[in-house]
Amino acid sequence: MPNAFWCVVEDDRAGHPKKVMAEVLAEAARLSGGRAEAVWLTDRAEPDGLRRLAEWGAGKIWLVEHPGLAPYRGEVWAPVVAGLVAAQAPRAILGAVTSRQREFLARLAARLGVGFAADVVGLAMDGDRLVATRPVYAGKLLARVAWARPPWIATLRPNVFKPADPVAGREPQIERPTVTVPDGALRLAERREEVSTGLPELSEAELVVSGGRGLKGPENFVILERLAAVIGAAVGASRAAVDAGWRPHRFQIGQTGRTISPKLYLGFGISGAIQHLAGMRTSKLIVAVNKDPEAPIFKIADYGIVGDLFEVVPALTEEFKKLLGK
């Protein structure tokens, strides 16, 4: 379909799209009047992964399955997708804010000579142009941005856009275009897996529990992990906790860490420095627990408890257990 809105698939590296694609596809369908299509570059696409994309609203799936496409390399992906764009002329190309899609879509935009907007939290049609809203200056301001010409290319922040209601039983319409996958210069030498915490990944998690200097030491994060395990949350940390060496950098929320937008953010012993707020102020619901009633985080919190987190966290964990029958 000409002038479709394309959604570049973020997958779990095992043949299935990540759930953030339900959000990207739904937004693409809303803006285009139902003309959302998926573009999937991968070394393997599982049949139920393809079905899931169709159920989330992908009218068509442009599938390029090739061993050279994993792991992602920008210099290999960009010419492949640019070739498809030249043939199909999509009106927009949307992705999710993940490490590789941020790089890939910027690179694709340069190849096509068009504009790119990263980390978008709102999209709206204004006549026949698309206007995107994105946080700037540590989230202190919002910028509305627009493109000089299509295709409009952007990455969407996870958990911000309403996900599609899946339509069960929709059969995927798969197109396998003939493309040349270049060799590329980068060679993967090794992949080091992180020790799995068993908890959700921070940037996609719907619930996030986060700890700061008030935790007093790395050993005390275990009480947050217990709480997180009960409600199924990811565990993050403030810069103070990361700089003190209590948590690895990948758990840092804030300006020099991850930017997150969960449905519920619970901050313990975090004062709420601007640089932390930059990473979490678009959370839908914010809960803060801090000994200091003057802590700036209370200014943006929906619910606050002024108290000692070493008493509040175990009490909260018990209450959540009761509520959830665990």
């Binding site: 390399r73 920008g74 210099e75 993940t98 490490s99 590789r100 941020r102 790089e103 890939f104 910027a106 690179r107 935009a109 340069a110 068009v114 504009g115 907007a117 990263a118 980390d119 700037v136 200056y137 540590a138 989230g139 202190k140 301001l141 919002l142 910028a143 509305r144 941005v145 493109w147 210069a185 980068l186 060679r187 030498a189 992949r191 080091r192 992180e194 990944e201 950098h249 840092q252 300006q255 020099t256 519920l264 601007i274 640089q275 619901l285 809960v287 009633p293 943006i300 929906d302 619910y303 606050g304 408890i305 002024v306 108290g307 008493e311 509040v312 909260l316 209450e319 959540f320 509520l323």
Partner: protein
Amino acid sequence: MKILVPVKQVPDTATQVKVGQDARQIETGGITWIISPYDEFAVEEALRIKEKRGEGEVVVVSLGPDRVKEALRSALAMGADRAIHVNDPAFNEADTLLTARVLAAVIKQEAPALVIVGRQAIDDDMGAVPAQLAELLGWPSLYWVMEAAIDAGGRTIRAGRQVEGGLEVFEAPLPCVLTAQKGLNEPRYPTLKGIMGAKKKEIKDLRADDLGVAPESAQLSIVRLETLPPRPPGRIIGGDVREAAHELVRALREEAKAI
């Protein structure tokens, strides 16, 4: 080995930022300017590679008005050898693509073996320039690099990028673009000697004509800057710890339906 590091001057995180009169730019009066923190990781990594190899040159480049010289001086004080300042009002409203074109033109003139850039600048947080630069140059790029090493012959680099769930270590032929992620290193503070020495180092001024880059209009432009909509006022839950915990969980379930 020549290493080029583009840096961007940005408002300090703690600075109050106000929407300017035309609503498309910020008011610049009273702002404290710094080098974007990720770019400091990039400068530091370039200096470490040079020091480890015992040879080489680190060149820092920035686009912007006169004030940008301060950021370049800071990088020179850290130890960079010389600086290039692209100072041309024609680029005042450059988007990431035009910025990348300008930097690519500088890189073609300078022909470095390696370009290291911060993963994103903390003003617009776009993070697009490194990848766009690599695309325009036709070079490979690695994002969010946490560790990097160049082989003894200076022909290839081994660098690890942070991905969801792990680290992917790649080997790449030089030249190549790396983006510096927090955790790559701990940037040094300039010494007094470094600060004094920086005053004597060269900052070369370049304009659009020197680079042969047409100051074309932006592909992405700001329509309007806005302040954040206010959040509804929050509620402090009092009482003893057990009561407060109970009430919070009740409110999260019944009022906010968040759990």
